[in-house]
Symmetry: C2
Subunit: 407 residues, 2 copies
């Protein structure tokens, strides 16, 4: 017997009776379903979405995979013409690697729009990349390495304009017909779909999906002081997308498997807090970051990416001729946890594709891995103080003095 | 500053600094990686596997999807001949629905071997289903609805024998060559691969993968009193399988995305406890289940599935002419949480494919959904007592007396 004099005899659907499996029709299941829906509504409310537009996944990587593979799959169920996808050359691996795979296996034509030397993509260039067979545009909201903020609203505007003005009849003719009538007509939906990976942005930037003008938006619990192993995909009603896994009917059939209910509840709670303190944290961290940046500039470091259109918590610098993985390890020895995307010295390790992209934009030529210097990312957060920054700058100075002997 | 005088400046890789992102090379990341590996080793130890054979996923549904789609993908990267998959007609939806999809879209030929009327599949029938192009056999260890235990060791033996005796040269000739040399030779691996979904079995049955003779084995945290949202795939070294998602290099490239480290640690702990109390729980629950079954048989209920080769915690009965969803709701009102797979009365709901399978095996003919009676599953667990069972039997009797007026 479990607490409250109830008898739980549904261990096979989930050994935990509180919360129980939300798919069960008994009292415990109904209660779990209710809590799941409350979490869903809370998240939808914050995003300015309907609760049936919120799909829970296992993380941002799965959300991004679901977007690209799921939109492609839905398309290929209805059309036989080769689809085209537009993205940028600084996306997270969970977007970039899927696109590269699709290109390599000739399942889709991909345009990787290069960002400018400040790490920001031009909406004009996205616009120019759109073609009759473009089914999806995927541009991250803010970059994970250099924190640059992409002009999502402007890109959305270009896409809306393209949708309206393109010749739909011709589009259908070019694409041909699959077994069903043309998908666009049947779903009253016009390609391309617009997706943004908002994983890094969600802590600090506005996330009203309608104002952003996106059809799909991904994020996770891990980056918002919530649980790992839980992700969200906002999916605007009627967006043509298929599930990429099979099993139960959970998440409106888009994502099978018993819901990670504890994780989902924790994510909703984390998002709520994030929203509540967003303005305050943006102000506080912007101040700290600018203070940090100013100190670092004195050292003649190169700051990677725009200083203006940038997440308030991100600093990414390159210290020429110094291996950044060594720097991170030296910093760690002094109790400072920073992040690296190391330059390739050994031949095995690859340089950061983001740093490579902005260097190439600057120099106007393709660079080899070994020609791209490493970078260090300092990403600040709720517990970061001014004293932390002072200590870090001091430690960095000591380390560089020491390393100067060798580099 | 976070506790212990360390400065965490890696919020962008994970807002939580303890545990941090195991991919980070700083001290916190290294510590997280260590804990992740300890969990992996613990699980491997219990399964009698190597730690590099343990892949973490988001649940058993993902593990099962990864198995079927991942093996197929790897195969199709190397061969062009249509592959064949063998499974049973009572698998969980996360196996069955993938197979149906592959059959429907002509990506694979599928044999759904029907179980006998006792809910158990004959190893002889699996053997007969094997063909030259069979790449995968997937048979669940124990059924989720009726708890019947499948003869995994015997099936593994048949598969080993088939691998040895089939004419490999002819196999290669039939399959043709892809871009690479034949996969079997290059990997020193002989098809078919043998997979078992052990999700329901893991609490009560032996799970040494070598003794079982399986190449792939799935389970999750949810059914072993652990976390939801975490799954495991045991993958024997050299088993040809591809990832189905893209992104990071986590889990040896088979499953991208930051590891759900808290969930993984909790799963390892849960599995350890499960193993420690397994023998004791098996004895205790077998006694309780037999006591329950005896009481129920007095009512002239039909018990679904073998009474001998059955999980110690499972009872599944059919009460003819009584809607089982109604029964479950009435039981819930009396504080008893049981599970239903309702018979189709309304036309919209489908009957249980498991109950349908064993009825068809008994009658020797295909049945329509509406011809299959509903069933109730009582699944016992760690908190179940004899008093619970007495109360449940009494409640069931009262409910049936009441319902007799209508049914």
């Amino acid at each position: 017997m479990v607490k409250s004099n109830k008898i739980y005899m549904d261990y096979a659907s989930g050994a935990c009776s509180d919360p129980a499996n939300p798919g069960a029709i008994h009292e415990f299941g109904v209660k779990a379903k209710k809590r799941l829906n409350e979490a869903r509504e809370e998240i939808a409310g914050i995003l300015g979405a309907h609760s049936d537009e919120i799909i829970f996944t296992s993380g941002a990587t799965e959300s991004n995979n679901l977007v690209i593979l799921g939109v492609l799959k839905k398309y290929l169920q209805n059309f036989s013409h080769l689809p085209h996808i537009v993205t940028t050359n600084i996306e997270h691996a969970s977007v970039l690697e899927v696109c590269k795979y699709l290109e390599k296996t000739k399942q889709a034509e991909i345009t990787f729009v290069p960002v400018e030397s400040n790490g920001i993509v031009s909406p004009e260039k996205i616009k120019k990349a759109l073609k009759k067979n473009t089914i999806l545009v995927s541009v991250m909201y803010a970059n994970n390495e250099i924190g640059t903020i992409q002009p999502i609203r402007e890109i959305a505007k270009e896409i809306r304009h393209f949708r309206k003005t393109k010749n739909s009849a011709e589009f259908s003719r070019v694409l041909g017909r699959g077994s069903a009538r043309p998908l666009e007509n049947s779903l009253n939906f016009s390609f391309p779909i617009f997706h943004t990976d908002a994983t890094q942005a969600i802590n600090y930037l506005p996330i009203n999906v309608e104002k952003l003008g996106v059809d799909l938006l991904s994020f996770n619990g891990l980056k918002i002081y919530g649980p790992s192993g839980v992700g969200v995909l906002y999916e605007k009603r009627n967006t043509p997308i298929s599930s990429i896994m099979f099993g139960g009917d959970q998440e409106r059939g888009l994502r099978p498997g018993t819901e990670n209910i504890n994780g989902i509840i924790a994510l909703a709670k984390a998002l709520k807090i994030t929203e509540q303190i967003k303005d305050k944290e943006v102000k506080r961290l912007t101040k700290l970051r600018d203070y940090f940046t100013k100190k670092l500039l004195k050292f003649n470091f190169v700051v990677n990416g725009s200083l203006e259109n940038r997440l308030p918590n991100n600093i990414n610098i390159t210290i020429p001729k110094t291996p950044s993985d060594l720097l991170v390890i030296e910093l760690s020895a002094k109790g400072i946890m920073a992040s690296v995307k190391s330059a390739c010295k050994s031949g095995d390790e690859k340089s950061s594709h983001v740093i490579q992209a902005i260097r190439e934009a600057k120099t106007g030529k393709s660079l080899l891995d070994k020609e791209v210097d490493g970078s260090i990312r300092f990403s600040l957060g709720r517990q970061t103080t001014k004293a932390d920054i002072d200590y870090t700058v001091k430690a960095l100075s000591q380390i560089l003095t020491k390393l100067k002997k060798w580099y």
